[in-house]
């Protein structure tokens, strides 16, 4: 205690709340001084997450269609995407490095692979949830397979697909932090730096921002779903 007092006393001016001697968990001065850094990390986090989820959707959609059309392929598609899930994230990024190097691409591809598992499953389930008689009526009305898919099946499957998309997005936000291993983890970089330099204000700020980002994206997805599926609003929300 006396040592701490001495250090504070010897500092010429009032030490800021994120100096070595004080090291507060919550520190307004830190937030003000390092705003630039925090904003940049958050933006990086956001775009890595978005790119990964979009890439996941782009790959999952054709896979889900393929799996639905060829029941034999279904086991293979689900098996491979579930197999990817058993690879730890800390291991997946290193495994990708020989191909993509130490770059954000590595993180995006790795995260997309994880999102894929959840997305393929939910898309398949969603498309299956469309009642057969609805499909039959649409065919009877003269819908071509393509317009049947885009105008009848997809809208009806949307609640289930969106549920999967929400899970995929929230877990991708959380997983992006592990990208700190290859120096592209968005807020994860700050968390790691906070641990190694025992910098509490930075650590807590990054953790809180990360959770907030996940919740924000989740809310955005729920709102999007409401807008896209106005007919579900009357009954129980999906």
């Amino acid at each position: 205690m006396t040592l701490l007092g001495l250090q504070v006393a010897t500092a010429a001016s009032e030490p800021s709340c994120y100096s070595r001697a004080v090291n507060d968990w919550v520190c307004g001065a830190y937030l003000a001084d390092r705003r630039q850094q925090l904003v940049e990390a958050t933006i990086e986090h956001l775009w890595i997450t978005t790119a990964a989820v979009l890439l996941g959707v782009a790959i999952a959609f054709p896979l889900a269609l393929l799996a639905r059309r060829q029941p034999r392929l279904e086991g293979l598609v689900l098996g491979v995407s579930t197999g990817l899930y058993t690879i730890p994230s800390l291991a997946l990024f290193p495994l990708l490095v020989p191909f993509t190097g130490i770059s954000a691409t590595t993180v995006v591809i790795g995260l997309a692979a994880y999102a894929l598992t959840i997305l393929v499953r939910s898309m398949l389930e969603g498309l299956r949830s469309v009642p057969a008689d609805v499909r039959e009526s649409a065919t009877g009305l003269g819908y071509s397979p393509t317009s049947l898919l885009f105008r009848i099946e997809l809208p009806l499957a949307l609640p289930v697909i969106m549920a999967g998309l929400r899970i995929a997005t929230v877990s991708t936000v959380a997983l992006t932090t592990v990208g700190a291993l290859v120096a592209h983890g968005g807020l994860g970089n700050l968390i790691q730096d906070g641990v190694f330099s025992n910098f509490r204000a930075e650590l807590l700020a990054a953790c809180v921002l990360c959770v907030l980002l996940a919740l924000l994206l989740d809310v955005l997805l729920v709102l999007t779903q409401r807008l896209l599926t106005p007919w579900t609003r009357g009954g129980a929300a999906a």
Partner: protein, 242 residues
């Protein structure tokens, strides 16, 4: 590619496996942590979730715990626990440095799949079966222990199995805060630009994950009351990997 040659060499060099910092020791360390965290999560989560499922209430709670759990990065939780003064333990027996923090973070991580699956498992036991049990004059406890629990067991086991593999995989994250386990091989390799070593660590972790998955699948089959009957898995059986 040179990196793969390095990886191969690292994996098949006995010196890298033995010794105090060798991979065997780290592997055992990580298994120990995984099992302890899983047992702790089961001890906390199973009684609560099963009983809530029996009462048919609290589903909101179970699902929400699962959702919030997803939003909190395990890495962030681990980092906070390591930096906190409490539990400020630098060494924790066989669990090594940062052991307690890792255990707590992993236990928290294992809870959502265990709680959600167990709750759903008990609530999904067919209503007419529950009713017949009551009609036969079983007490609430008898209904739970003799009817609901055996029928729910496969799905409960599915949740535990999922948690096991995920906890094992996630345990590697401990290395990001200089904790125990095989993750250290991965991070060491990377921070020192010795990619062969990093990839070798990743390969070992992934292989053990597969072995655990197979063993767990075997165990799950053993607890099945009706052999080879279809076991429905819930939508929620896919929470976040670490």
């Amino acid at each position: 590619m040179n990196v793969f040659v390095d990886t191969w060499d690292y994996l098949f060099d006995g010196a890298n496996w033995g010794g105090s910092g060798g991979m065997w020791r780290l592997l055992v360390q990580q298994l120990l942590i995984t099992v302890t965290a899983l047992v702790a999560a089961m001890a906390v989560g199973l009684p609560v979730a099963l009983w809530l499922g029996h009462l048919g209430r609290g589903g909101f709670l179970a699902i929400n715990i699962s959702n919030v759990g997803r939003a909190i990065p395990t890495f962030a939780l681990l980092a906070l626990l390591v930096t906190l003064d409490w539990p400020g333990v630098t060494t924790f027996g066989p669990y090594g440095r940062a052991g307690i923090a890792t255990l707590l973070a992993l236990t928290a991580f294992a809870l959502p799949p265990i709680i959600t699956n167990s709750y759903v498992a008990v609530t999904e036991v067919a209503a007419e079966v529950k009713e017949s049990a009551r009609g036969m004059g079983m007490t609430s406890w008898q209904q739970f222990s003799r009817v609901e629990l055996p029928l729910a067991l496969p799905l409960v086991a599915a949740g535990v199995r999922l948690a096991l593999v995920q906890v094992w995989a996630t345990a590697t994250i401990a290395a990001l805060v200089a904790g125990p386990g095989l993750g250290r091989v991965i991070t060491d390799g990377f921070y020192n630009s010795y990619y062969g070593k990093g990839i070798a660590g990743a390969v070992v972790v992934a292989l053990v994950a597969l072995v655990l998955e197979l063993l767990a699948a075997l165990g799950q089959r053993l607890v099945h009351p009706l052999p080879r009957a279809a076991v429905r898995r819930t939508d929620d059986s896919m929470p976040a990997p670490g």
